[in-house]
């Protein structure tokens, strides 16, 4: 299999015996992939929430916040990870900080648009009922903004799952490690397995988030029926 880059037949695209022999490795990579994605999203949401609240409270901040996160988002992922190396080395922090930064633009934008989209009348009704600002935020505005916020969380999740594979070039990568393995071994099976599992993970996560959203917004369901 390693004798030169001769054209590979379709039948050789995947060799199942290799998959069977490497199930433990694949499971480990998958676990790391889920771990990196989950942590990056968690940090992203925790950081984006105050930024979005500040942008809604002081609209003047929204432009600069969008511009700043937009600039970070424009930097190619590999370059961004590498620019963190002088500070955090090749540790997992480099991967996590980079991935978190990428989620920020999507999350902040959707949180702000969602919160801003809440009907003025609804807001005034809450005030008239004597809701405190905090109670109004958590019991009225956030639930109503949830569909737009969840749309952002979904995009951020699918994007992050793709980006995790890039961190294979700085020693992490989750399923992206399979790409490097396949490249080093000059063998397509790991690469195909990596692509399929990573895409499947993205779809599964997206479906899961749709289900979560349905649970969190029961009124949207009952209205339809």
């Amino acid at each position: 299999m390693t004798d030169g880059p001769a054209p590979v037949l379709a039948a050789e695209l995947i060799r199942w015996s290799w998959v069977g022999d490497h199930l433990d490795d694949i499971r480990g990579y998958l676990f790391q992939h889920v771990e990196l994605t989950g942590l990056a999203l968690l940090f992203g949401i925790v950081l984006a929430f105050p930024l979005a609240l500040a942008a809604v409270r002081w609209p003047r901040l929204y432009g600069p916040i969008l511009a700043f996160t937009g600039v970070l988002f424009t930097i190619p992922s590999l370059a961004l990870f590498i620019l963190l190396i002088p500070f955090t080395g090749l540790s997992i922090r480099t991967a996590l900080i980079g991935l978190t930064i990428y989620t920020l633009l999507i999350l902040v934008r959707n949180m702000v648009e969602g919160l801003r989209g809440v009907d003025r009348d609804v807001r005034e009704a809450a005030q008239a009922m004597g809701f405190s600002a905090t109670r109004q935020l958590f019991q009225v505005e956030l639930p109503l903004a949830l569909p737009v916020i969840m749309a952002g969380v979904r995009i951020a999740t699918v994007t992050t799952i793709g980006l995790v594979t890039i961190t294979a070039l700085i020693g992490w990568g989750g399923l992206g490690r399979l790409f490097i393995d396949g490249f080093t071994l000059d063998f397509t099976t790991p690469i195909v397995v990596g692509i399929v599992l990573s895409a499947a993970l993205a779809f599964a996560a997206d479906l899961l988030l749709v289900a979560v959203q349905r649970q969190l917004t029961p009124w949207a369901r009952s209205r339809r029926s």
Partner: protein, 235 residues
């Protein structure tokens, strides 16, 4: 260890500014790959997205293409194509183009589709035919989103071309990939700074182009609509 000093020395070393592996040559290569890939992608994707938007047929495909593109790992595709076809500019170019198509299709579709019904009917009421409506009303109104799609793709191509250095493509990605394998931190970080600058310049330049091609009456509303469309894309 003085990383900043080392990186500055790497960036300002005259040796790195000349010859086929020098910064000017690598930058030109990178710009060339990106121009060719984005150009071909636009030539394929614009007619598809606009046709779907104009006729309304194939909408499901147009909306889901970008989501699908996001889920597929770029690095994996580049390495797989390399394994199947061997190294060459054409296989890499095909991957770059394929990955650049979805945002252009989706954005141009949404742009044309979201043209106000009243505006379209007004054009028809004025006696315009299908083609005239498309060229004189729908496309100018859709222009902000069409340009947003091309911008997204161009920036993505610059990033993907960087990754393609892993399978031997030239361009600025070479400094990142070679530097990583040689454990040469100044080269890696210097290269990353150049790649980041190139992406930002690409984004800014295309923003300028967008300002030039979007009709002034639309500029305000268009920017607003573009943000909203982006926000709701996954909904």
């Amino acid at each position: 260890m003085d990383v900043v000093g080392d990186v500055l020395r790497w960036l300002t070393d005259p040796l790195h500014w000349s010859g086929p592996g020098g910064i000017p040559a690598r930058t030109l290569q990178h710009v060339w790959y990106s121009l060719v890939a984005t150009g071909i992608a636009a030539a394929i994707a614009l007619p598809i997205g606009i046709a779907i938007g104009h006729t309304g047929r194939g909408a499901l495909l147009a909306v889901n293409l970008t989501n699908l593109g996001r889920a597929i790992p770029t690095l994996g595709i580049i390495i797989l194509v390399f394994q199947l076809a061997g190294f060459g500019f054409i296989p890499v170019l095909v991957s770059l183009v394929a990955l650049a198509i979805p945002p252009i299709v989706t954005n141009s579709y949404i742009g044309v589709r979201s043209v106000d019904r009243d505006v379209r009917e007004a054009a028809e009421g004025m006696g315009m035919r299908g083609r005239q409506v498309l060229w004189q009303v729908e496309l100018p109104v859709a222009m902000p989103l069409i340009m947003a799609g091309i911008r997204t793709s161009a920036v993505q191509v610059v990033a993907t071309a960087t990754l393609a250095a892993f399978v031997g493509l030239g361009g600025l990605g070479r400094y990142l990939i070679d530097g990583l394998s040689q454990r040469d931190l100044p080269q890696v970080v210097g290269g990353a700074i150049l790649v980041a600058l190139l992406s930002l310049i690409t984004e800014l330049l295309l923003g300028r182009v967008q300002a030039l091609v979007v009709s002034r009456g639309l500029a305000e509303r268009g920017a607003d609509a573009a943000v909203r469309a982006k926000v709701e894309k996954a909904a």
